[in-house]
Structure formats: structure tokens, C-alpha cells
């Protein structure tokens, strides 16, 4: 900021205005045949435009939710959390595993399906938020005062680790309706949670903080218990209480795309709307869920005391600490929220596109990161806007140009916008840090 004030403002602004105008005119000239052809197509079939806008809105809403995870973290510690896309992937896998083990499908009555889906959503958000907090604790916190590049490389490393976790998960057989496996998965978590509560109760007043590796040991013990329990319960009780198991949802190969069972409405079911454009129950589910998530996050950050602490930490970490804000906890909270949103996005995609594959985090992460930059990274409303815009642009490009050009169009528009507004569409609020 200080630099901008020091330099003479007017001539730069004027020069930029001229060059912008020329660039704009040139672009318009180059693309005018394309614009004319698109306009004719729209006039010819306006309903199709409506349909595509809906598709763009739905896909954009999902991208926006993922983008919020990037922007929350960047806004607070100016780190691009490259592992976020993979947290989202793990969210989709958790959804797939829980849905399959519980054998929830479109035939399950809503009175059971609704609460169970909400429960799964809560679990997925908790798991992914927890993973993200763990990543921050072990991979980023020690590097907080290191040169910028160090946590960035660390983030890329974490991304690879998580991708391989997804690959391993894809090779674990998961059978539909395998309730015992679910018991074996949940039991150790409950046991450990109880142990922790009891330990705290009896150690009250001792003021002893559990060291980081203590948590790690707990997690490792829980994982081993889960595996051991799985084998014991599965092969011990399975023979005593036989279950009729469905297919192995992970299929024959670990890296292959998995099919997430349909839970909202089957493909053959009658959609909500057929004219003037097709709107299915799944579209509505995505829009409603994304709307709730986005608005509650926005209200949380803007209206609550903890949200205020987050904004303060984002503005000036040292001053925030002086004001008595627990900076470490606030940063961890940003990661928790980001991870939870990533997990929710994974579940939404799992239910909407019905696919989970271990590389899905990369493409989605790239799109989401782009939209965060487009809207102004660090700005929550900007990320939402950026996500929706990217979704809309992709859909329109698929319709009126060609699918293979979509990425070129998206990134071309990003470049143009960044030329005119280097800090993104709504990016004025960031960059206050010295």
C-alpha cells in the first residue's frame, strides 16, 4: 500500500486506461465473429441458454464451495493449500464408503434416508475438517515463519500423500450393506473418544497439554484398532450372523473410477421441472446445500466473535495476538472450516456426479483455485462469485464453442480479468498486510 501512495497516481492510471481500452477493442475485434455466431445461436434457442445457465450454476456452486477452502486459508496465512483438492477427494471417498456400508439408496424411505444423509454429511465434514487441521498441525505450523516457498512445497507434498491414501482406499474391498465393517470402523473411534474424555476428567487441574506426537499415537492406535476390529468382526461375526452383501463398490482395480450409489432420486424418476428447462431433484439438492453452506459461512465470519477474530488475524497477526486472540487456534479454525467445506463439496459431488476417483482432487482443485483467484483470493464473497462465474463460463463454452476449448476459454478469461483487475474481481479487501 505504501508504495502505491508514494508513486504519482494520476499518470499511471491514465496510461493504464488507454492500454486497457486498446486491448479491449482488439479483443472485441478478434472475437467478433464468434460473438455474433453465439448471439445467433442464443436467439435461435433461448430455452437452451436457460438450461445451460442452470448447469453452470450447479457446477459453479460446487466449485465455489471448494474455492472457499482455498480462500479461507489464503486469507489468514497467505498459503495456497494445494492439498485442499485432495481433502475434497477424501470427502467423496468417505461418502462412498459410508453410503455403501449403510446400503442407502433411492429405495430407502425418506424418513430413514434424510437423517442418515445428514449424519453422513456431519461425519464427512468432521473427518475432512480433522484431516485439514492435522495437515496444518504437522505440515504447515512449523513452517509458518519460514520463507514462503517452504510451506508451498510442503503443501504439494501433502497433496501427493493424500492422493496415494485415496489410491489405497480404492483398493480396499467395500461391500454394500456390510454393517459389521461399519461397526468395526466406528467402535475404535468411540473407544478413543471415551478414553480421551476420561483422561481429561481425571487429569483435570494438572494443566498438562498433550504433545503433538501423543495425538499421532492416538490416531495410529485408532487406525490399527479399526483394521484389527474389521478383520475380527468381519470374519468372526460374519459367519455367526450372515449378512447378504452386495457388490464390492471399489471394483476390480484400485485406481479406477468408483460409482457412488444414487441417493437423491433415481435417473428414471420424474424430474422436478422439464420445461422450460430440466431441473432435477439432484440439481435442487446441490443448490440448496451450497446456498446453506455459503451463507452460514459468510454469517459465521461476519457476525460472530470468532469470525471477527479470524478477520483480525487475517489483517494483522501480531496485533491480533496483542489483542488477546489465540492466533494458533484461529488459524486451526480456518483449516477446520476449509476442510469441512471441502468434505461437504466431496459429498455433494459424490451424490450429484455419482463418481469418486483418486485423481479427482487435482482437476477440481485447479478449477476452484482459479475461481478463488478470479474472485480475489482471500475474499470470501469473491470466491463464491468466482466459482459461480467459472461454472457458468464452462457451461456456456461447452454449449457454444466446444468442450475441448473450455479450459482455454476459462483461463483466457481469467487472464483478461487479471490484466484489468490484478487482485481479482472483489480483491480489494486483501493485501493490507505489510
Amino acid at each position: 500500500m505504501a508504495q502505491t501512495v508514494a508513486t504519482p497516481v494520476v499518470p499511471i492510471a491514465r496510461r493504464r486506461n488507454w492500454s486497457s481500452l486498446i486491448v479491449g477493442l482488439l479483443l472485441l475485434l478478434v472475437f467478433s465473429p464468434l460473438i455474433v455466431s453465439i448471439a445467433t445461436k442464443i436467439v435461435h434457442n433461448p430455452l437452451l441458454l436457460l438450461g445451460q445457465l442452470k448447469v453452470g450454476l450447479v457446477n459453479g456452486a460446487i466449485i465455489a464451495i471448494i474455492a472457499l477452502g482455498y480462500t479461507l486459508v489464503y486469507g489468514i496465512i497467505e498459503l495456497i493449500n494445494f492439498a485442499h483438492g485432495d481433502v475434497y477427494m477424501l470427502g467423496a471417498f468417505t461418502t462412498l464408503i459410508l453410503l455403501s456400508l449403510l446400503n442407502i439408496g433411492t429405495t430407502t424411505p425418506w424418513i430413514i434416508r434424510g437423517p442418515v444423509l445428514l449424519l453422513i454429511l456431519a461425519i464427512v465434514m468432521a473427518v475432512c475438517g480433522g484431516i485439514n487441521v492435522g495437515i496444518e498441525r504437522f505440515a504447515y505450523r512449523r513452517l509458518r515463519n519460514a520463507p514462503r516457498l517452504a510451506p508451498l512445497i510442503s503443501a504439494i507434498g501433502v497433496s501427493f500423500v493424500l492422493q496415494n491414501v485415496g489410491l489405497v482406499l480404492g483398493g480396499v474391498p467395500v461391500f454394500e450393506g456390510d454393517y459389521w465393517a461399519l461397526v468395526a470402523l466406528v467402535a475404535p473411534v468411540v473407544v478413543i473418544a471415551l478414553a480421551m474424555v476420561l483422561a481429561r476428567r481425571f487429569a483435570a487441574g494438572a494443566e498438562r497439554k498433550m504433545p503433538g506426537w501423543g495425538w499421532l499415537i492416538l490416531i495410529v492406535v485408532a487406525a490399527s484398532l479399526a483394521v484389527a476390529g474389521f478383520n475380527l468382526v468381519h470374519h468372526g461375526l460374519q459367519s455367526a450372523v450372515p449378512l447378504t452383501l452386495g457388490d464390492n463398490v471399489m471394483g476390480e482395480t484400485a485406481p479406477g473410477p468408483k460409482n457412488v450409489p444414487e441417493v437423491i432420486a433415481s435417473v428414471s424418476a420424474k424430474p422436478l421441472l422439464e420445461t422450460p428447462f430440466r431441473l432435477t431433484w439432484k440439481d435442487l439438492m446441490v443448490l440448496v446445500m451450497c446456498g446453506i453452506l455459503m451463507s452460514s459461512l459468510y454469517l459465521f465470519v461476519q457476525r460472530t466473535k470468532v469470525g471477527k477474530a479470524m478477520r483480525a488475524t487475517a489483517q494483522d497477526r501480531d496485533a491480533a495476538r496483542l489483542m488477546g486472540i489465540n492466533v494458533d487456534a484461529t488459524i486451526a479454525l480456518a483449516f477446520l472450516l476449509g476442510g469441512a467445506l471441502g468434505g461437504a463439496a466431496g459429498m455433494i459431488v459424490g451424490m450429484y456426479s455419482n463418481s469418486a476417483v483418486f485423481v479427482m482432487g487435482f482437476t477440481a482443485g485447479l478449477r476452484a483455485f482459479t475461481s478463488a483467484v478470479l474472485g480475489g483470493i482471500g475474499n470470501i464473497a469473491g470466491s463464491m462469485l468466482g466459482g459461480l462465474l467459472i461454472g457458468l463460463i464452462s457451461a456456456l463454452s461447452d454449449q457454444y464453442i466446444e468442450t475441448r476449448w473450455t479450459n482455454a476459454v476459462v483461463f483466457g478469461i481469467l487472464v483478461i480479468i487479471l490484466v484489468f483487475r490484478p487482485s481479482g474481481l472483489l480483491g480489494e479487501d486483501v493485501g493490507q498486510k505489510a
Partner: protein, 449 residues
């Protein structure tokens, strides 16, 4: 310094967890697999371990029984991980079976065959990889006793390895490549650009896409399709077969509404499918492989309201695999049309039936559709080696090319001067109750029952 032990401890614990997770999972895989019908399933790690073990075992066999110490090494390069794994498992098993039938020996024991199963896929990619394939070809070429290269599975991979092997006069026999341009003129400079030394070294025992494109279009016409929308995965094989389908469909009077390449790793294709739905086609044809999101394409096609009774979905051998059904889901995959070059398993002659029985006895399941081609490739290799009886790459190459009226499990066939098989049959499949079932059969330009 205080931090170091903590980190060390966490590393050890992490490793221990992975090990703990790995072993029980492995055991449960094998126990569960007895209930799951299908191909021989090992996890990718298990597959790699088996591979290492086999090659080690083969080497020891060669060393102990060879006596005179004359080993001929036969390499295969196939994607041993990812979507194509169930197919390549069958191919590799069939190759091993064929070699074992001759006790891994040729020329009455003068040479011992050492078969090495190379992987041209990486776990990170989940499909074949450029660097891995080139590395495999270079490895085979630099081995002084490496004589024959069986592979590749993907046509794009063959484009890279043919020139490497060509310069070393090493013969290549593919059990699966169907891209026309590898042997016959298609795109600019093809096929000569793959053969830098001017002498052909590439053969394939599988019928190429020129026949498949024709057969698919003919089947579509037979199904009464009037308007079709064509998609491809922007790879050599997918674009090639989709282009041939388009050409043939047009000559048969089917209207081609459009032909587009898709982004293989996209989350969903709902906008593309909304656009296609508006053009109201009778069929969507996808030229490509399962790794490139064939399952998602079909899912989104159904999701935007193109119902199976109105819009059919067809693809070439790239989607005619079990992982396609896993990826798309049983309900959605229902009614998909797929075609594969070659005779269907049930229509193989007595020799073929004997192979199927032997395979099932040995591996406990039927081979996938490319298994017989692996067997045939190994058979041709043995025939050529027996004829030449020398560790001479050029002579072996010429002997393979000279294969005439080979009486194999696919029937009686020859290689033409370009290294293509003279077999011109295509088998059609339809997904029924979550399984690929044999349907019509294409022979000499006609679909028959």
C-alpha cells in the same frame, strides 16, 4: 535437536500403520474374492510383487535347466495397473500358459525362453505412461538376449515403442492395438514415420479399427439409428476409431450431428450432454477407453434425461471391459453396446475351446476378451523362434512376418505385408444384468446372429 526424535517417531509410526493396514486388507481381498466372480484380482502392489517373483523364478529356471546357458528373453509391455488391468491379467496369464505348454523351450531345448512381464502404466496415472513405455522399449532393446516384444495394449503407447524397436530390428507383436495408422496410411506421414529404418517390424494379431469402425457403424444402422453424436477421448486410439465410425456412418446414411473431443479428467459432462440432448440423437458413440471417463460420460448422458429407450450408447473395445460397468454402475451401464475385434469366446474352434478350458482350470475364471490374443501372440513367437533357431533379431522379425496360415486358437490366419492379421471378425456385446453378454457377430462386412 529436540525435534528430531519426535519426527523420527512419527515416521516410524506412520510406516507401521501403513504396514498394519496393508496386510489385513490383502488377506481380506483374497478371502472375499472367492465370492466375487470375475478376473483374477490382485491389488496393484500384489501384482507388482507377483511380477517380480515370476521374473525371478523364470530366471532361476533358465539358469538351472539351460545348461548351455542360451536364453532368449521375450518381453511384454502392458498396462498392469489401472482400468485395463483385468484385461492385461488375462493376456499375461495366457502368454505364460502358452510358453509353459512348451516348457519354456524352443528348438528342442536349444534355447530357454525367459518371459519378462513389464508394466507401462504408473499408479499415479492409472493408465499407460509415455515415459514408462519408452523405458520398457529401451530396456528390451538394450538386453542382448531380448528377441521379441509382445505389446502394447494402447495404440498411443505403440507409437512410441515401434521406432525404438525398429532401429534395433526387434519384432513387436501386439495383442491389442487397433489404431489403423500404425500399419496402414491414415494421418499424415503414417505409417512410415514409425519405421525409421524403412523395414517393418510391427505386427498385430488383432483386427484393426478399419474393420471395427465399419462394424460399429453397420451395427448402428442395423439398430435403426438415424442420428448419432460422436465423442472421443482425444487420444490416438479413441480419435482414430471415432473418426472411422463417423466416416462409415455417413456412407450408411446416418446423420452425424457432431463430433467432439472431451476433457478426460472432467468432474462431469452435464453441460455437454445438455447440448447433445437438444439435438435429440438416437445414439451417442464414444471412441475411447474407460480410463478416460467413459463411465462418467454415460452417467451424465442419462442424468440430463437421455433415456436408454430413446438414446443408445455404443463404444469400441476400449469400453468393453468389466471396469466400465464398475465405473458407470450396473443400472446405468445396462443396455450399452460394445464391440471387440476377433471371435467371441463361445465361437472359437476346438483348439480355442481347449484353450478356454485349460485357462479356466489353471486360473479359475474365464479369460477377458483379449486373453486369446495374448495366447496367439505367444504362439506366433514360439513358431518363429522354432523356425529360426538363432538369437538373431532380424531373422526372427522376418520369420514372424512370414507367418502364413497359422493354425491357432483364433482359426487359420496370416500376417499381410503390413503386419496386420487377415482375420476380419468383430464380436458385438450388450450389457445385460450388469454383465457383458455376447450379441451379434460381424463377419465379411455383414452382421449375423
Amino acid at each position: 535437536m529436540k525435534r528430531v526424535p519426535t519426527y523420527f517417531l512419527s515416521m516410524v509410526l506412520a510406516t507401521a500403520t501403513l504396514a498394519a493396514c496393508g496386510t489385513p486388507t490383502g488377506t481380506s481381498t483374497t478371502t472375499q474374492n472367492t465370492t466375487v466372480a470375475g478376473s483374477v484380482a490382485t491389488t496393484s502392489a500384489g501384482g507388482a510383487a507377483t511380477m517380480a517373483a515370476t521374473s525371478a523364478a523364470d530366471t532361476t529356471v533358465a539358469a538351472s535347466s539351460g545348461g548351455s546357458g542360451t536364453t532368449i528373453r521375450v518381453y511384454s509391455s502392458l498396462p498392469r495397473q489401472g482400468q485395463s488391468k483385468s484385461q492385461t491379467d488375462s493376456v499375461v496369464n495366457a502368454i505364460k500358459m502358452r510358453f509353459a505348454e512348451d516348457k519354456n523351450q524352443v528348438c528342442g531345448g536349444k534355447f530357454t525362453i525367459d518371459y519378462v512381464d513389464l508394466d507401462d502404466a504408473t499408479a499415479a496415472k492409472g493408465s499407460w505412461d509415455e515415459a514408462a513405455e519408452t523405458g520398457n522399449a529401451n530396456k528390451a532393446v538394450s538386453d542382448p538376449v531380448g528377441m521379441v516384444y509382445i505389446g502394447t495394449f494402447n495404440s498411443g503407447a505403440a507409437k512410441l515403442s515401434i521406432p525404438v524397436l525398429n532401429n534395433a530390428n526387434m519384432v513387436m507383436i501386439s495383442p491389442a492395438n487397433t489404431y489403423v495408422g500404425l500399419t496402414k496410411p491414415l494421418a499424415a506421414g503414417e505409417p512410415d514415420k514409425y519405421y525409421p529404418n524403412g523395414k517393418r517390424n510391427y505386427t498385430r494379431v488383432v483386427t484393426n479399427d478399419a474393420v471395427q469402425g465399419l462394424a460399429d457403424a453397420a451395427w448402428a444402422a442395423k439398430l435403426g439409428i438415424k442420428k448419432v453424436y460422436i465423442l472421443d477421448d482425444q487420444q490416438a486410439y479413441g480419435q482414430g476409431v471415432a473418426g472411422l465410425f463417423e466416416k462409415n456412418a455417413k456412407t450408411m446414411g446416418i446423420t452425424v450431428l457432431g463430433h467432439e473431443g472431451i476433457q478426460a479428467k472432467e468432474q462431469n459432462y452435464t453441460s455437454l450432454m445438455t447440448k447433445i440432448k437438444d439435438l435429440s440423437p438416437d445414439m451417442v458413440y464414444f471412441g475411447g477407453i474407460v480410463d478416460n471417463n467413459a463411465g462418467q460420460v454415460l452417467k451424465d448422458m442419462r442424468a440430463v434425461g437421455m433415456t436408454p429407450d430413446k438414446v443408445k450408447f455404443m463404444g469400441p473395445d476400449g469400453i468393453q471391459t468389466d471396469p466400465f460397468i464398475t465405473a458407470a454402475g450396473k443400472d446405468i451401464a445396462e443396455g450399452t453396446y460394445g464391440t471387440v475385434a476377433g471371435l467371441p469366446l463361445s465361437k472359437l474352434g476346438p483348439k480355442g475351446q481347449a484353450f478356454l478350458k485349460a485357462y479356466k482350470d489353471k486360473y479359475g475364471a474365464d479369460p477377458q476378451s483379449y486373453g486369446p490374443f495374448g495366447y496367439e501372440a505367444a504362439g506366433v513367437t514360439l513358431a518363429a523362434l522354432n523356425q529360426v533357431c538363432k538369437a538373431d533379431r532380424a531373422a526372427i522379425r522376418d520369420a514372424v512376418f512370414a507367418t502364413k496360415d497359422y493354425d491357432g486358437i483364433l482359426g487359420k490366419w496370416s500376417f499381410d505385408k503390413d503386419g496386420d492379421t487377415t482375420l476380419q471378425t468383430i464380436q458385438g456385446y450388450i450389457v445385460k444384468n450388469g454383465k457383458w453378454e455376447e450379441a451379434n457377430f460381424f463377419n465379411n462386412g455383414q452382421w449375423e446372429k
